[in-house]
Structures are given as structure tokens and as C-alpha cells.
């Protein structure tokens, strides 16, 4: 990939001998410019976002109703305090897990199985633009559902809503972590059904380990909870229901999400490259 980077940076038609491919000889034709990362990312993002109108809105309703329903059920078991915060935060982040992890894993699994990756692989587009564009769009799908769930939950459990603006950080960061995981799962799974299964299991884990209050969990389950990236989004959101949250801990939790996001998106980009050329 790097042999022709001189042209990619300038985006210009070949002029000097330095960009002439060694293998091609004297009469190698000029290569068309590559798509640059940011414009390509924007184009993929926009295209993916438009898919929501066609295919995803019913699923977004499902994601939101599921979370609101869980909170209503838990209302009978939990009456306030830390547990209520955990339930509301867990249900809100569950929307992110449903869409970014589960649906994105399914999407990439389906794209790979159906030969759809060929379309991208035959365009001069950086792999990161495809993965980040899709992951960003799926994370964006979750914004309305997460906000609705957090507000309904705060009303239901009489929690203060003053710090809910923190969702503006929780959604993109846990979205990055979970979407990266979802994309990597979808692209690495050898079969489409396994991608779907992986996405579903990941979402179930986010549901069980995120929504149920952690205090009652047996030790091994609590460790599993610590391994799940969505947990840190849940914790960050739960802490901000305090009157005066410990912002350093919130920032640390979100930092974990960000770090997992970087690693998982890098893994997904690598998986995309691997899947695109066979």
C-alpha cells in the first residue's frame, strides 16, 4: 500500500519518476487518485446513516422499547439508590450495545457473506474509512434511543437529570468501543450466522452484566463484568446521577471506553483488510 503513497498524499496525477511503479516499466498508466481518509469517511458515514431511514428505524424502536421495558420491570424490584442508578445507566447503554455491537456485527457479517465487501475493495478507499464510517453511523443511530431511555429512567426512578449531558461523551465513547467490537466480530466470523450469534451474545452480556446491580453478583461474574467495555460506559453514566459526581472517576471510566474503542476499531480495520482481499 505504501509504495504509491506519494500520489495518495497529493491526490495528483503522476508526474515524477519516483511514483512510477518499479514493476510497471516506462509506460505504466497514471493511477487515479485515492479517496482521502476524511472525505471517504464522511461519504461512508452519510451513506450508512441514510440506510437508517430505509431499514433501521423499526430496530431502533425495538432497542428503545426493550430498554424502557427492562426499567419498568426492574421498578418492581429496585426502589432507589445505587441500584436504581445502575438500572437506568445499564438500560441506556444497552441501546448502544444493541445497535452498535449487535446490529453492526450482523451488518458486516452479511456484507462479507453476500460479497458486498467487493464493492468497497474495488474502490481506492482507505479501509479505516469504511470501518469508521459504518461504526460512526451505527453509534449515531443509538443517540435518540439512549437519550429517551435515560430520561424515561430518570423520571421512573426519580433520579436527577442535571448531569445527563454526560451522554454526549458516553454515547460516542461506548459507541466506539462496542461498534469496534461489533465490526471486528462481523468481519472475523467465518460464517454469517456466527457473526449474528456473536453480536447477540455480546448484547446479552451487556444486558445481564450491565443492567443487574453489580453488588449482588458472584465474584467470577463480577470479573466478567469488568471485562466488558460497556460496563465502563454504564459506570460513568451511573456516577453522574450523584449530586456532585467524582468527575475524575467518570473520566477514567470513559478513558477505558476510548482505549477499547481505539483498539477494537484498529482490529476491525485489520479484519476488514483481511476479509476484503482473499
Amino acid at each position: 500500500m505504501s509504495a504509491v503513497s506519494a500520489e495518495a498524499v497529493s491526490g495528483a496525477v503522476r508526474t515524477g519518476s519516483d511514483s512510477r511503479p518499479r514493476s510497471g516499466g516506462e509506460d505504466a498508466a497514471p493511477l487515479a487518485p485515492r479517496a482521502k481518509l476524511l472525505p471517504a469517511l464522511a461519504a461512508v458515514y452519510r451513506a450508512q446513516l441514510s440506510r437508517a431511514k430505509v431499514a433501521r428505524i423499526p430496530l431502533l424502536f425495538v432497542a428503545t422499547f426493550q430498554s424502557v421495558g427492562i426499567m419498568i420491570m426492574m421498578r418492581g424490584v429496585v426502589d432507589g439508590g445505587d441500584e436504581a442508578r445502575a438500572v437506568v445507566a445499564g438500560s441506556s447503554v444497552l441501546v448502544v450495545a444493541f445497535v452498535a455491537l449487535n446490529l453492526l456485527a450482523q451488518y458486516f457479517g452479511q456484507l462479507r457473506a453476500g460479497g458486498g465487501l467487493d464493492h468497497y475493495a474495488t474502490l481506492p478507499v482507505p479501509p479505516a474509512a469504511v470501518v469508521l464510517g459504518a461504526a460512526g453511523a451505527y453509534a449515531s443511530f443509538t443517540v435518540p434511543g439512549t437519550a429517551v431511555t435515560a430520561v424515561v429512567g430518570s423520571v421512573l426512578f426519580k433520579l436527577p437529570m442535571g448531569h445527563l449531558w454526560v451522554l454526549a461523551a458516553v454515547v460516542p465513547l461506548s459507541g466506539a468501543a462496542l461498534a469496534g467490537l461489533g465490526a471486528a466480530l462481523g468481519l472475523l466470523a467465518p460464517r454469517q450466522e456466527l457473526a449474528t450469534l456473536g453480536g447477540q451474545l455480546g448484547m446479552s452480556a451487556a444486558l445481564l452484566l450491565g443492567v443487574l446491580p453489580a453488588a449482588h453478583m458472584p465474584a467470577p461474574i463480577a470479573y466478567a463484568r469488568d471485562l466488558l467495555p460497556s460496563t465502563y460506559g454504564v459506570e460513568a453514566l451511573a456516577r453522574t446521577f450523584d449530586a456532585s459526581p467524582d468527575w475524575a472517576v467518570v473520566a477514567a471510566d470513559l478513558g477505558v471506553c476510548a482505549a477499547v474503542g481505539v483498539v477494537s476499531l484498529a482490529a476491525a480495520t485489520w479484519a476488514y483488510r483481511r476479509a476484503a482481499v482473499r
Partner: protein, 332 residues
């Protein structure tokens, strides 16, 4: 000197081999043996020509095309496209080739307009250029009225045309089209071939086309390579290939029910015929063909005859004469 070289060869393929490994059987499903999908392919495509790959499903057309577009690495052999070694640098293909694959999964949920625009942007065009080209191509192909519809909601032929539009946005010197007109009505087909011709006439584009439609191959292609089990069994102009079968004529007889084998003239034809249900296909010298038609239309065999046709040889006959299995070819 550069122009002389450019006028000659655009794509050179030498000794291309690709084997798909054997798949182990799963429960209920038997395994498959290893398949040599490209079995030592040599090929030269000249600048500005419409070059076709003809063969039935499973002949290795798509496998060959995927190696020419950098999607698949060959096990052996070389692919040189416009002076670039695509085996060593498969990623360069995307900057030389406009590719229309068989699948539309990546574009299905987009509108026609957004599919074309996004593809143009991912081909490196700026926003304004991508939109201008999108509008021009949709207009050219008569898709403007469908621009706001999602591909998913279109008929198969319209969807194919929309994918073809996306393949054209962002000019490329080489177009690789894998069965571009599959499922299209005649109007859409004409739009496709007109667009291809325009790019060749105005920009000197070279087109590599996969088809299993013999009629289309005869009317559209400058040269055609006939594929069978991963090998090129013939490569020439359609007219040149037809000379291989000389002046033989194809006779097709369709019986109402069973062929009347009790009629001696019919029984005599039986050995030369390729029967397919009620339909017999024969390749005969002109005099023999006249005699055969006279026999089945004149005597007692006529009562059993539903229909008959007499045609000059097509590429399908060439394919049969070369030892190919013509079952997979389409004649419409």
C-alpha cells in the same frame, strides 16, 4: 513511443492459476474436491476493445475477473494492467478499473442517487465533482426518475442498471463488468451498451465483459475468450470463432410429445441430435439440413412436429464444437 505502447495492450495475463481448496463436508453436506478455477490462463486485451469472457456458470469467468481487479490473489502467473503488476500491487486495480460485480449488497439500502454519489466519492472525486458526474450518469442511463428510490425497492433489472451507474461514476480507463445486463429489459440493455460505446469512442476506454449470453456476445464484443473449466479454449473475434464451425447450419426441432422414432428419417437424425426434453438440436451441413427439414415437414413426422428453426451458427455452436457444455449458456 508511449502512444504506440498504449495503443497495443492494456491487460496481459500469463499462466494464471487459482485453485480453491477442497472443502470438508459438514454434517449432512458432502465435502467438495479442490477446484482449479483458473487453469493456466493466458490473455491479452487491447486498448479500446470490448473483450468478452464467455462460458457457462462455473467455467471460471468470475474467478478470472476477480484476479484482474485485485480481489483475489492468483496462486501462480502474472497480471499486468496498463503497465502495473497487479499480482504484486493488487490495490492499484481500484485506481485503474471501474468494476461492476454481481452483488449489490453494499448498495441495496441506498437510494440510486446516493449509491452513485457515494461510489464516486470513494473513487476519489470531490463532493461537487461526484454530484455532477452522478447527475450526468443517471441522466445518460435514464435513471433520473428513479434517483430517489432505494435500490432494494427496484426490480432486478433496474437495480442492476443503478449498480452499473455507480460503476461509471469516476472515470476509469478500464471497465470490468461482470454480467452487466443480467435481468435487464431491452431498453436498459441498450442504455448500457450505448454508455459503454460512448466511453470507448470518447475516452478510449477498454471494456472487459463477463457474459453467458451468446447473442449479446455476438453483437457487442470485439473479441471473445471462451472459457471452459478454468481454461481458455478459444479466443478470437465472434466472426473468427464462427468460422471454426465452417458453414454448418443449426436445425432445431421441437416435438409435440415424443420424437416419432418409427419414422426412418427421424431415427436417422437421432444420433446427430442433442436432445433436451422435446427439443432436438442438430448441426448439419447445409444440404443435410435442407434434407432433414424436408423429411420432418413433409412426411408422417410432421404430425409429431411442434416447431422447427433453421439458423446460421452462433457462438453456442462454436462452444459445442470446441467441446464445451452449452447447457449454461443463455440465448436471449
Amino acid at each position: 513511443m508511449k502512444e504506440a505502447a498504449a495503443a497495443a495492450t492494456v491487460c496481459t495475463v500469463r499462466g494464471l492459476v487459482k485453485t480453491y481448496p477442497a472443502a470438508r463436508g459438514r454434517r449432512g453436506a458432502p465435502g467438495t474436491a479442490a477446484v482449479r478455477a483458473s487453469d493456466g490462463i493466458d490473455l491479452q486485451v487491447r486498448r479500446g476493445e470490448i473483450f468478452g469472457l464467455l462460458g457457462p456458470n462455473g467455467a471460471g469467468k468470475s474467478t478470472l475477473v476477480r484476479q484482474l481487479t485485485g480481489l483475489l490473489r492468483p496462486d501462480e502467473g502474472s497480471v499486468e494492467l496498463l503497465g502495473h503488476d497487479l499480482v504484486r500491487h493488487p490495490e492499484r486495480a481500484a485506481r485503474l478499473v471501474g468494476y461492476l460485480g454481481q452483488e449489490s449488497t453494499a448498495l441495496d439500502e441506498l437510494t440510486v442517487s446516493l449509491a452513485a454519489e457515494t461510489t464516486g466519492r470513494l473513487r476519489g472525486l470531490g463532493l461537487r465533482a461526484a454530484r455532477a458526474e452522478r447527475d450526468a450518469v443517471l441522466e445518460e442511463l435514464g435513471l433520473t426518475d428513479l434517483a430517489g428510490r432505494a435500490l432494494k425497492k427496484l426490480s432486478g433489472g433496474q437495480r442492476r442498471l443503478a449498480c452499473f451507474a455507480a460503476a461509471l461514476v469516476g472515470d476509469r480507463p478500464v471497465l470490468v463488468l461482470d454480467e452487466p445486463t443480467a435481468g435487464m429489459d431491452p431498453v436498459a440493455r441498450r442504455a448500457v451498451w450505448a454508455a459503454v460505446d460512448r466511453r470507448r469512442a470518447e475516452r478510449g476506454a477498454t471494456v472487459l465483459l463477463v457474459t453467458h449470453n451468446v447473442i449479446e456476445a455476438e453483437t457487442v464484443l470485439d473479441r471473445v475468450a471462451v472459457l471452459e473449466r478454468g481454461r481458455i479454449i478459444a479466443c478470437d473475434t465472434p466472426a473468427g470463432l464462427k468460422e471454426l464451425v465452417g458453414d454448418e447450419v443449426r436445425v432445431e426441432l421441437v416435438w409435440r410429445d415424443e420424437a416419432p422414432l418409427h419414422v426412418p428419417e427421424v431415427a436417422a437424425l437421432r444420433d446427430a441430435a442433442h436432445p433436451a426434453g422435446r427439443r432436438w438440436t442438430l448441426r448439419l451441413a447445409p444440404a443435410e439440413a435442407r434434407a432433414a427439414v424436408a423429411a420432418v415437414t413433409g412426411g408422417p413426422a410432421f404430425a409429431a412436429l411442434d416447431d422447427f428453426t433453421l439458423t446460421t451458427p452462433s457462438l453456442e455452436d462454436v462452444y459445442l464444437a470446441l467441446g464445451g457444455r452449452a447447457d449454461g449458456l443463455v440465448k436471449a
